[in-house]
């Protein structure tokens, strides 16, 4: 398969110690090409092009109102829920190269393959078990054994299993905020998404719950392709492999996280990550 947009070169590993943990070649899971977006008459994203590397965490950073959440919500067509929104450009979901925002694409196609976790935990008014099973049930999974196994696996991956295994049939609203967010992660993981979108997943959580979720993202990045929006620069630096810096609806800089944080090409990026504005 061909990459729709070339990934920037990895930083050269220190010559003395080749980085054996990283795969030789990184492929793109998605390619954004010249994406623009309007809320009604107001344009909020301007010609954005960047790849999403498969099996990596990509962080989207930038000041409030820079369009990073809007950008993220294009991937699963969340903007379709509200009237008057308009997309231009392409977002290709690889390997088939389906154009997610193409006018002929049924939004259900990307949504069935892409999972999302929102800023605030939003568990359904159902039991813990049924929350995790929800995505499987609407994909037609009926078998009790398959459901049970997948619910347990997802809760384990979301590091919640030990805390809830004895009360799977209790209401999801009996959980704490941090647990609810991990439940929402488990719910997103259960259908085995090819791409996982995280929209400031820790912004409503206290520092301990945040640390839990960050560890979790690190753990998940071995298995899933993740795009995460974050306000927290340290978080972006800690958990991501690639970083995209947005400002006023434009993509200012995209590259391997190490480079963006240590040798940014743009002064605006430099100013933002050193806290001079934002």
């Amino acid at each position: 398969m061909t990459l729709a947009a070339p990934l920037p070169a990895e930083p050269a590993p220190p010559s003395a110690r080749p980085d054996e943990a990283r795969p030789a070649e990184i492929r793109a899971k998605a390619a954004v090409e010249d994406l623009s977006f309007w809320y009604g008459p107001k344009q909020v994203l301007f010609s954005i092009s960047m790849p999403v590397a498969e099996g990596c965490v990509t962080a989207l950073i930038g000041p409030s109102g820079c369009g990073k959440s809007t950008f993220l919500r294009c991937f699963n067509r969340m903007h379709d829920l509200y009237p008057g929104n308009r997309y231009a450009g392409r977002i290709l979901l690889e390997p088939e190269g389906i154009d997610i925002i193409g006018p002929k694409t049924d939004p259900m196609v990307p949504r069935m393959r892409i999972g999302m976790v929102f800023q605030k935990p939003n568990p359904f008014p159902k039991s813990i078990y049924e929350n995790v099973a929800a995505g499987l049930r609407i994909r037609g999974v009926r078998s009790r054994t398959v459901l049970d196994a997948q619910v347990e696996k997802s809760l384990r991956r979301a590091a919640l299993w030990e805390e809830v295994k004895d009360r799977l049939h209790a209401s999801a609203h009996t959980l704490s905020g941090g647990q609810q967010q991990r439940l929402c992660i488990a719910r997103a993981l259960a259908p085995e998404p090819e791409l996982l979108l995280l929209d400031e997943p820790t912004s409503a959580l206290d520092p301990i719950a945040t640390a839990h979720i960050e560890e979790l993202i690190d753990e998940l990045s071995r298995r899933y392709t993740i795009v995460v929006v974050t306000h927290n620069m340290q978080q972006a630096a800690r958990i991501s492999r690639f970083t995209a810096f947005f400002h006023l609806g434009r993509l200012i800089e995209f590259g391997p996280t190490e480079e963006v944080f240590t040798r940014p090409r743009e002064t605006m990026t430099q100013d933002y990550i050193t806290g001079r504005f934002g």
Binding site: L81, N122, G135
Partner: protein, 315 residues
């Protein structure tokens, strides 16, 4: 009066301090308002208590003459006959049957309509349909009664040729339409109060619109929707005009919707409009009937209270 400014050349802020009289006036106003609000709140409680007192005391007089067992088990209600029977069952059967017909129309139709308005209709359509529905709620019940008697009953006769002029089916159906606006309006409010975050979560997971509406929004709004059902039920049980006009005034112990029957409310309006002497058992019997009605709606309200607590979702 309200405060004295600090000297213009002051360096540190010394605060704009209100005078003690100003604060005292404020406190007084606050106390007066609190008293007025308390009085308003007490009034509604007192009226309720007064109604309960009148119902209970007159009913007590009634039950001195008629045994509770006879009241609850006798299958005839003939207080005005030479040989009177005081069994509430025929009236209760009429009330229950007609209310059940009304609710079996209003609950499914109301829920579907509310889901449609909240989850499917765009805002322009909603702004047209909701006021129209609320107009339906403004139609006087006597109009619904004659509508049932003179329009719906003849229509139903084409389906059931033996249908008597007074029957329970026709007023039941019309009453269902009558309480529909209450159920739609309240359920729709509850559904629209469900946060969009929940809908987004469902769509992101691949739910269709229908699945989102039925599997996420409806359960999340359940406490409000239950409250709407219970209000509709209370309206149906207490409704008088429609049943008095279209169901007949003949106490009849039957659950067959194709027969006519009096309800509790029909009996009350019939007797209180007639020339029953004050203090007679017949007079007291309307209080016993009203008390039964009151306990019935109270039971539904208590049930609703517990259901709401059980299913409450906090956002």
């Amino acid at each position: 009066m309200a405060g004295s400014l600090p000297p213009a050349d002051g360096v540190l802020a010394s605060g704009i301090r209100p005078s003690p009289e100003f604060l005292a006036r404020r406190r007084l106003k606050d106390r007066i308002m609190r008293g007025l609000l308390f009085a308003a709140a007490s009034l509604s409680v007192l009226v309720t208590l007064a109604i309960v007192y009148v119902l209970a005391s007159e009913s007590l007089a009634f039950f001195r003459h008629v045994g509770l067992v006879a009241f609850l088990t006798d299958t005839q209600w003939t207080p005005l006959f030479a040989e009177p029977h005081y069994g509430i069952l025929p009236l209760l059967a009429g009330t229950v049957t007609i209310s059940a017909i009304a609710l079996s129309v209003a609950i499914p139709a109301g829920t579907v309509l509310a889901l449609y308005l909240s989850e499917y209709a765009d805002s322009r359509l909603r702004e047209v349909v909701k006021p129209l529905l609320e107009m339906l709620a403004g139609v006087p019940t006597v109009v619904f009664g004659y509508f049932a008697l003179l329009f719906v009953t003849p229509l139903l006769r084409r389906l059931f040729p033996d249908l008597p002029g007074f029957n329970m089916l026709s007023p039941g159906l019309v009453m269902g339409v009558m309480i529909l606006p209450y159920i739609v309006s309240l359920s729709e409010d509850a559904m629209r109060a469900v946060p969009d975050a929940l809908r987004e979560g469902a769509y992101a997971l691949g739910y269709t619109r229908l699945q989102t509406a039925v599997r996420v929004v409806l359960p999340a709004a359940l406490s409000g929707v239950t409250a709407a059902y219970l209000l509709g039920m209370a309206r149906a049980v207490g409704e008088t005009m429609v049943v008095a006009i279209a169901a007949g005034q003949n106490p009849n112990f039957t659950f067959n919707p194709l027969e006519g029957a009096a309800t509790i409310t029909t009996y009350i309006v019939q007797v209180s409009l007639g020339d029953v002497a004050y203090g007679t058992i017949a007079y007291q019997s309307i209080f016993a009937a009203a008390l039964t009605l009151f306990l019935l709606t109270l039971a539904f309200n208590v049930l609703g209270f517990f259901l709401r607590r059980r299913f409450r979702e906090v956002y």
